[in-house]
């Protein structure tokens, strides 16, 4: 039985600036006001620029409002920020907002003891995709005929991408058509089939709101339940239950988005090299010949958590200074992460040689997941199959004398 509410902020000033009832903003502000957390990590448009979304570490409740609204043209690496730049938040309590991929990345890192899960309150945000910012600006001009600086909001709904302009007008285009022209969402977003972040503490989105100035909030954990109850109790938010029709709409939209994602998965995975092993080997040999050992993929990947990576030159395994590196370099990394890839797309975003890294890892993950019955990033209690040895398996190995 899902625990779902419709919520809206009690704060007029938040309602004015935020979207859909300002619920996430109010939750974050409440958590700071009540000292439930030391800080909040959310996204803000740097200097008001919608195409430059950066992580914002906020301790002053009055500044939370800067993170209000959704930025579709921003995809900074939130999990990396927590893990590396905030030292896994071992010494502070934070509330973090994130898309499903961000939350799944945090879950996987928590499994690997790189983020102190007990110190984090995860406020998940529904998502059907983000856009690469430089390309999005070109898209505004070329595919919409508008000045990207005039866009004040973006929305993806019912298979359409709609841009709201400063003068209040809207321009809208069919998303599938846009994407067939080479515009639209990041590739991994096209394939992504996890839209409601139920692996967070709370999952917030607009599905199920029937267009009202409210947010639909699903309580996903005891921690999430506590936060919501306290926020309501303190008068920061008001809530009511959604109608069963609204919940059905929410389910339907989720399924439609998932079906569309699966179609993209088929297409993307089929485009990689052909059906025979020889063809695929030739394809990947050519692709990987462009690698320049920048390590951006390794740095960006939430699953690549080793601080002393085997692929670094000082380990003596991959010959130093060789460009392209031995093909073992990209293959080994792929093999190490494949069981847990969450399709966040950060590797492919960061690759200067245009390698389809996210496609490859995601494809393998889908296949491995089916075989091993493992869905990465969903359940913090489920150990990564290729690196964890459960008790019964260990006992079996011992018994077999290995």
């Amino acid at each position: 039985m899902k625990d779902v509410y419709l919520a809206w902020s009690s704060d007029e000033s938040i309602l004015e600036r935020a979207e859909h009832g300002g619920v996430v903003t109010s939750l974050l502000k409440f958590m700071l006001d009540s000292e439930m957390v030391d800080a909040v990590l959310a996204l803000k448009p740097r200097n008001g620029n919608r195409y430059e979304g950066v992580p914002a570490l906020i301790t002053d409740p009055g500044q939370v409002i800067e993170t209000a609204g959704s930025l579709h043209c921003a995809s900074p690496n939130i999990a990396r920020c927590l893990k590396t730049y905030l030292d896994g938040v071992t010494d502070m309590k934070v509330a973090v907002t994130g898309k499903p991929c961000d939350i799944r990345a945090i879950v996987e890192l928590a499994k690997r003891k790189q983020i102190a899960r007990e110190n984090v309150i995860l406020v998940g945000l529904n998502c059907t995709g983000t856009l690469p910012p430089a390309a999005a600006k070109r898209m505004c001009r070329e595919a919409f005929g508008v000045d990207p600086d005039e866009v004040t909001a973006e929305d993806i709904e019912d298979g359409r991408l709609t841009l709201t302009l400063r003068d209040g007008t809207e321009v809208s285009r069919d998303l599938a058509l846009l994407e067939s022209e080479g515009y639209g969402r990041r590739e991994n977003c096209q394939r992504c089939d996890v839209h409601i972040p139920i692996m967070a503490d709370l999952a917030c989105g607009k599905w199920g709101t029937s267009g009202g100035n409210v947010t639909c909030v699903e309580v996903c954990s005891q921690s999430g339940s506590d936060v919501l109850a306290k926020a309501v109790g303190a008068g920061a938010l008001e809530v009511k239950r959604p109608s069963s029709e609204a919940l059905q709409v929410r389910e339907r939209r989720d399924k439609e988005a998932t079906d569309a994602a699966k179609a993209w998965q088929e297409r993307h995975f089929a485009e990689m090299g052909g059906s025979s092993s020889e063809q695929r080997l030739a394809y990947w040999t050519e692709q990987f010949s462009q690698c320049i050992k920048c390590f951006a993929c390794k740095d960006a990947c939430p699953i690549c958590y080793c601080t002393d990576c085997y692929l670094e030159a000082d380990r003596g395994f991959i010959a130093a200074g060789q460009v392209p590196p031995d093909i073992v370099f990209p293959i080994l990394r792929t093999v190490h992460v494949a069981d847990s890839c969450i399709n966040c797309g950060q590797c492919q975003d960061a690759c200067p040689s245009e390698l389809p890294l996210s496609r490859l890892a995601h494809m393998l993950n889908v296949e491995i997941g089916a075989v091993l019955g493992y869905h990465s990033g969903m359940d913090i209690g489920a150990p990564p199959p290729l690196s964890a040895v459960p008790e019964d398996e260990l006992a079996m190995l011992v018994a077999a004398g290995t």
Binding site: D38, A39, R46, N47, N49, Y51, E52, V54, P55, L57, T59, C73, A74, S75, P76, N77, R80, C81, T84, Y85, L86, D87, D91, M92, P132, P133, A134, A135, K137, S289, Q290, I292, K293, C294, F295, A296, D299, A300, E312, A313, D314, A320, G321, V323, P324, D349, A350, C351, P352, S353, E354
Partner: protein, 677 residues
């Protein structure tokens, strides 16, 4: 507990692409680099250097306080004492005896104030920098053909080309984010031709056609290509008629040339030359990118002129994704030319003469500005008694290191302003600590005339100061005429806008947008210029001028005693003399030391095995290196990277071209190699 975390946008400090990065600053210290996905040049991607851009800032040995040499050893001193000492020496010096060697790493503001100081206080035009060593041939060559030595297309438009010709540029290693544009172009079917005597990684993974020519034979090769295009009627007659001059002389010259002879000189079979020529000529948009392999020759001017011929003949100018495109190396290589801290130009490419001097006297409210061209880099090294070296390392970058060391040691007074104790700083009488990139505000100008801001993300260490501030203080101490009381880098930029017409419409505020603004930008409502020469060329008659160039041998040919051609170049993991990159762990781990590439057969015949220690000698000196035996280099050729000063090929290089370029022939000198027993 961390409380302050900021993502600060800026531009990578290394090469002339000017890729955007977000610096992650925690409690006043940079701790990481994250992708700046909005940036139009690199869209969130970086090369190994950019990914590790900030590390050198915190390496041991940052210069933090001024140092003076007393009784043979360096002692810390105050800024006031150090600057007073310098001011005194400069005040008494004869203008002809002072030389200022500056840098492509200095910001536009630094360089503008420097040339103002030199001209107002020192009354000298003796200024130059390492651009002498890379694009001093570009400027005369492209000025004579198209009127201006800048990159005519935008980096962001390179993928529009249908054929890309990479001449003497190992883009995969030296401009990786331009290589990305080429990867994208290839995805849409673009054909790539690589001209390089080495089988570089660029040749291996990007080339559809690799013309592995004999070193220094570029003029013969390109003349042969142009001859093919003319003979097979593949020229763009309409473009030639409307927009060029001089094709008849070129046609006549090439008609008399023998194709087999040209091919023989080039060391490339005729059929390969023809295929390359046809591929380029038939492309809707042909884009030529070139760099040191073409420019760093005594015949560099000719090498570049013939590339211009190729583009003019086929109508490959004035449209996006075309042109003959020089790639300036440094972060601010283009800005250096624009700001004019050099012997023959005032700011904005105003030629040094009486009219220009008079104009700047009015701008600056001074009198008596120098109106005779000054000395260029190596002439200053030879003839000046007093040298002020800022952000430059002649002990690594200049040819004939042995001679450079002797010259520097003989200077009456040597001042070095830098961020680390470089090989050059070790010889100085006074050393001034400079604030580095990310520690000061300013602007820089990239290969495609792209002006961008670099911001101050953290404070400089110790007492290190921004270069332009040091120049202002020096001006004050010397009671220089002219205004040097700028309160900020932005104030300097406002003056640059008034004196450099190409920058007139650019402001710090406008530069807050990702990707900056490409000049020319004549007014504040002008968006900047992506493509040059759209309607006319920058020549006096607006036309492109074909040039007849005959092949000339490099200055120092091989002989029995020195039978190998020694060439040198760069690696992806390091940058120039290694001041920054060799203090960065990941980069240093990949490439900790130098080597010499030797052909497999040559190795067999000389009894040298891969990994052996060898001696490499030229008429000027001798160095030790580790042999790297490979099939990727031609017989009779040696290649060394020049990032490792302990086995620096510049100990062996030497011969230079005469005026106007005075380009050292880094890419070709005579050497021998011996196993060390």
């Amino acid at each position: 507990m961390t409380m302050m975390l900021e993502y600060v946008p800026t531009v990578c400090p290394y090469c002339g692409c000017g890729c955007g990065v977000h610096l992650v600053v925690r409690d006043g210290r940079i701790i990481g680099v994250e992708p700046w996905k909005e940036h139009p040049v690199n869209e969130g991607k970086n090369c190994p250097k950019g990914r590790n851009a900030f590390e050198f800032l915190y390496a041991e040995g940052r210069l933090e306080r001024p140092l003076v040499r007393e009784n043979g050893s360096l002692q810390e001193t105050s800024w006031e004492k150090a600057l007073e000492m310098i001011a005194e020496r400069l005040r008494d010096a004869d203008p002809g005896s002072v030389g200022l060697i500056n840098s492509g790493k200095l910001t536009n503001e630094d360089l503008y104030v420097l040339q103002k100081l030199a001209r107002c206080a020192l009354k000298t035009n003796n200024m130059d920098n390492c651009s002498r060593f890379c694009h001093s041939t570009t400027v005369p060559a492209l000025v004579s053909t198209v009127g201006s030595g800048v990159m005519p297309t935008s980096q962001t438009d390179i993928a529009q080309a249908d054929c890309i010709l990479l001449a003497g540029v190992n883009v995969k290693e030296t401009y990786p984010l331009i290589a990305r544009r080429i990867i994208r172009a290839k995805q849409r079917g673009t054909r790539v031709i690589v001209v390089d005597p080495r089988r570089t990684v660029t040749a291996k993974v990007l080339a559809d056609i690799h013309l592995q020519l004999r070193p220094g034979a570029d003029v013969a090769l390109v003349n042969a290509m142009v001859k093919t295009i003319v003979e097979e009627g593949l020229e763009d007659s309409d473009f030639i008629a409307r927009r060029t001059k001089g094709v008849e002389e070129l046609r006549a010259y090439l008609a008399a040339a023998d194709m087999d002879e040209l091919a023989e000189v080039a060391g490339v079979p005729v059929h390969a030359i023809r295929e390359a020529a046809r591929t380029y000529a038939r492309a809707e948009r042909g884009c030529i990118l070139y760099n040191a392999g073409i420019a760093q020759h005594a015949a560099g001017i000719g090498n570049i002129k013939v590339l211009a011929n190729l583009a003019l003949l086929t109508g490959n100018y004035g449209r996006s994704g075309t042109g003959v495109n020089p790639l300036r190396g440094h972060l601010n290589g283009e800005g250096f030319g624009d700001m004019g801290p050099l012997a023959v130009f005032y700011p904005g490419f105003a030629p040094v003469n009486e009219a220009t001097a008079a104009r700047f006297e009015r701008h600056w409210g001074v009198v008596g500005l120098p109106s005779e061209p000054g000395m260029s880099y190596m002439d200053m090294m030879e003839k000046c008694d007093v040298l002020y070296v800022i952000g430059a390392n002649p002990m690594a970058s200049a040819p004939d290191t042995g001679r450079v060391a002797a010259l520097l040691a003989s200077k009456e007074f040597l001042v070095v302003q830098d961020i680390f104790m470089t090989e050059t700083a070790e010889l100085a009488d006074v050393i001034l600590p400079a604030a580095a990139w990310a520690e000061k505000e300013g602007t820089v100008t990239e290969v495609d005339r792209r002006v961008q801001r670099i911001g101050k993300a953290v404070a400089p260490p110790g007492e290190a100061r921004p270069d332009w501030k040091v120049f202002c203080e020096l001006a004050g101490m010397m009671d220089a005429e002219g205004e040097f009381d700028y309160g900020s880098a932005e104030e300097v930029f406002e003056e640059i806008r008034r004196t450099v017409p190409q920058y007139a419409g650019i402001t710090y505020e406008r530069l807050e947008r990702a990707g900056g603004i490409q000049w020319p930008c004549p007014s504040e409502d002008h968006p900047g210029t992506e493509t040059m020469f759209v309607g006319r060329f920058a020549t006096p008659d607006g036309l492109g001028h074909f040039q007849v160039v005959a092949y000339e041998e490099p200055v120092e040919m091989t002989d029995e005693e020195y039978p190998y051609v020694l060439t040198n170049g760069r690696l992806i993991f390091h940058y120039h003399s290694g001041t920054m990159s060799r203090r960065t762990k990941r980069l240093n781990d990949e490439a900790p030391s130098g080597f010499v590439e030797l052909n497999t057969q040559d190795a067999r015949e000389t009894g040298i095995e891969d990994g052996n220690e060898v001696r490499v000698k030229s008429r000027r000196g001798e160095i030790r290196a580790t042999a790297r035996v490979t099939d990727d280099i031609r017989r009779g050729m040696l290649f060394m990277p020049w990032h490792f000063t302990e086995s620096g090929p510049n100990t062996l290089t030497g011969p230079c071209a005469g005026p106007p370029s005075k380009m050292p022939e880094f890419k070709f000198c005579a050497a021998r190699i011996e196993a060390m027993r």
